[in-house]
């Protein structure tokens, strides 16, 4: 028999000061664990997907294969993959991370490749023609121009991993997934509710951090939204233009 829980109780776990101290199984500890799995998985995925994405984007070779393998990875159910890993390797951090990395790679790979391919060819032609060597072309021209797309790939990958990292709890690890599993097992729905809210809050916080990072590393000249509009307004306001033409409407790239 399931006893209906009064509404206010949904917040019971979340609002209980006892859960906010630093102790085994407390909210701060689970948050840090969850953040750790997420950041670790995204970093490993980036270390794999960024170089491959840059290489196939720059050379335009092997794109078909890489993108399709990536997409196949995306189609794998993470929970299924995790179960397989546990069967093969036993429980622990490594199988959980592998499952999360497989999930995190495709968005980074696809957006990095697409970002490099979408770079204005005439700017790349100019870069080569002015005497940049291949690595200089890549890092001084292509990557800075592709950065808005690369960053959006990293951010969407982070969101997916943050939401999915709850599976770690199924293989005996910590993280916010513990609240979901333990809460369900003990019919403590306020704990389940707390777990769900915290995952969402962490995802939002990570995305805001991603937006901040994006602002810091992406040149205002290639920022996606609003940059062209801002430019046009500034162009119209200026009185020092030596010609009478209207500024070009679109940003290159």
């Amino acid at each position: 028999m399931i006893t209906p829980v009064p509404l206010f109780n949904y917040f019971g776990f979340l609002l209980d000061p006892a859960n906010w101290g630093w102790s085994d199984g407390s909210i701060p500890q689970r948050l840090v664990e969850h953040l750790g799995y997420t950041v670790l998985a995204v970093l490993i995925a980036a270390a794999i997907a960024l170089p491959i994405g840059l290489l196939i984007g720059h050379t335009n070779r092997g794109a078909f294969l890489a993108i399709n393998i990536g997409n196949a990875g995306r189609a794998l159910p993470t929970f299924g993959l995790l179960s397989l890993m546990v069967v093969l390797m036993g429980t622990g951090l490594v199988p959980a991370l592998i499952a999360l990395v497989v999930l995190a790679v495709p968005p980074i790979l696809a957006s990095t490749y697409a970002g490099i391919r979408a770079v204005d060819r005439s700017a790349v032609d100019a870069a080569v023609g002015m005497g940049m060597r291949p690595t200089e072309v890549l890092f001084r021209a292509e990557v800075p121009m592709a950065l808005p797309l690369i960053m959006s790939g990293l951010r969407s990958s982070t969101l997916q991993v943050c939401a999915t990292a709850t599976v770690a709890a199924y293989v005996g690890l910590g993280g916010l997934g513990r609240f979901l599993i333990d809460g369900l097992a003990r019919n403590q729905y306020d704990q389940v509710f707390a777990g769900a809210v915290l995952v969402a809050a962490l995802a939002i916080a990570l995305d805001l951090a991603g937006a901040g990072l994006e602002r810091a590393v992406v040149s205002p000249g290639v920022r996606q939204r609003g940059s062209a509009r801002r430019g046009r307004r500034r162009g119209a306001r200026s009185t020092d233009t030596s010609t009478q033409e209207a500024p070009t409407a679109s940003t290159a790239g």
Partner: protein, 349 residues
């Protein structure tokens, strides 16, 4: 001097873009490659800085075979300007201009100072230095492209249709400033265009290309207009080449009649001067209506302008002025024709 010696480029798939091209581009001059689209101008240009490698033949700069040099090092000594400027959208104007100096290891502060100074030389305000390319008009971007090519002070410049993507009025301004700039810097320039007017206006030497990467004729603009090698060239330079040839004859030595209140008895046209003797306009048949003067010329102007003024004035004469703008002579159709005949005799003899 840039020398093409029997250069051929065949692309995989069989297109022969350039066929056995031999030509010399004199040091310190503008050589224009002109011709219809697809005749191999861009391919020829891009072989100079090794963006394309020739299938056979050699290209050398001051006697040095370009293929014997490291491509990146070679390119940093060759300014490169392309049609849509190809600016880096993520870099400010000053950092775009500083590209090659920065590659060469010049420190950032120094490179930026030079960049801002170059902005002035291409006719842009220093306040543009910190803008991004997306905040500039097409013509302004093109000026930045030229400044960027000049930044490392390379002896050679390659320009591929640099002014084709801007509207005609802006293009005219860019061309004039480009000539002014070239008079200061004296670079060895290879300039590609499909526009014969631009070729004639800018080229010290013009090389006319035809389909299949063949060179149809090389010569000064005047030589092309006066003496086209064949029907293709004659057709390409256009039917009004006689009139266009007037651009190369100045009004120096042109016979003029005294001007004081010039009266054309037949049409009753009268030139009005202000107190200082500067032309104001024309009156016709003693009416009070003053028709504004359409323009005047000086001894340095071309016969093309003089002819145009004579045709458009109600009296059929063009008014000459001195350095102060004071009218000092009137040229008639007859005197223009005589002057032209003299000039032709001189250049022939």
């Amino acid at each position: 001097m840039i020398t093409f010696d029997a250069v051929t480029k065949a692309f995989p798939g069989g297109t022969v873009a350039v066929d056995n091209l031999s030509i010399e581009l004199p040091t310190g001059q503008i050589t224009v490659f002109v011709g219809p689209s697809g005749c191999g101008k861009t391919t020829s240009l891009r072989m100079i800085n090794r963006l394309i490698e020739p299938t056979s033949g050699t290209i050398s700069i001051d006697g040095e075979d370009v293929t014997k040099q490291d491509a990146a090092v070679l390119r940093r000594k060759i300014g490169y300007v392309i049609q849509h400027a190809g600016l880096f959208p993520h870099r400010t104007v000053q950092d775009n201009i500083a590209t090659v100096p920065l590659l060469n290891g010049v420190n950032k502060k120094q490179a930026r100072e030079n960049a801002v100074e170059l902005l002035g030389r291409v006719g842009l305000d220093a306040s543009m230095a910190t803008r991004y390319p997306a905040q500039l008009s097409g013509g302004q971007q093109q000026r930045v492209g030229v400044a960027r090519a000049l930044a490392a002070d390379p002896p050679v410049m390659l320009m591929d249709e640099p002014f084709s993507a801007v509207d005609p009025i802006v293009r005219d301004g860019l061309q004039k400033e480009f000539l002014r700039l070239q008079a200061e810097v004296g670079k060895t320039i290879a300039f590609v265009t499909h526009d014969i007017d631009e070729a004639i206006k800018l080229g010290d030497t013009v090389a006319v290309f035809r389909e299949g990467g063949h060179l149809a004729q090389v010569g000064t603009p005047q030589e092309l207009l006066d003496d086209p090698a064949d029907d293709f060239v004659a057709d390409f330079v256009g039917r009004d080449r006689g009139f266009r040839g007037l651009s190369f004859v100045t009004a120096e030595g042109l016979e003029v009649e005294p001007v004081q209140t010039y009266v054309d008895g037949v049409r009753g046209v009268r030139l009005l001067l202000d107190d200082a003797g500067r032309p104001r306009g024309w009156t016709v048949n003693g009416s009070d209506d003053v028709r504004a003067i359409t323009g005047t010329f000086t001894k340095q102007d071309s016969l093309r302008l003089v002819t145009d003024l004579a045709i458009s004035s109600p009296a059929g004469v063009a008014v000459r002025v001195d350095g102060d703008g004071v009218a000092d002579g009137a040229a008639t159709h007859a005197s223009i024709a005589d002057h032209l005949a003299d000039a032709r005799r001189e250049s022939a003899g």
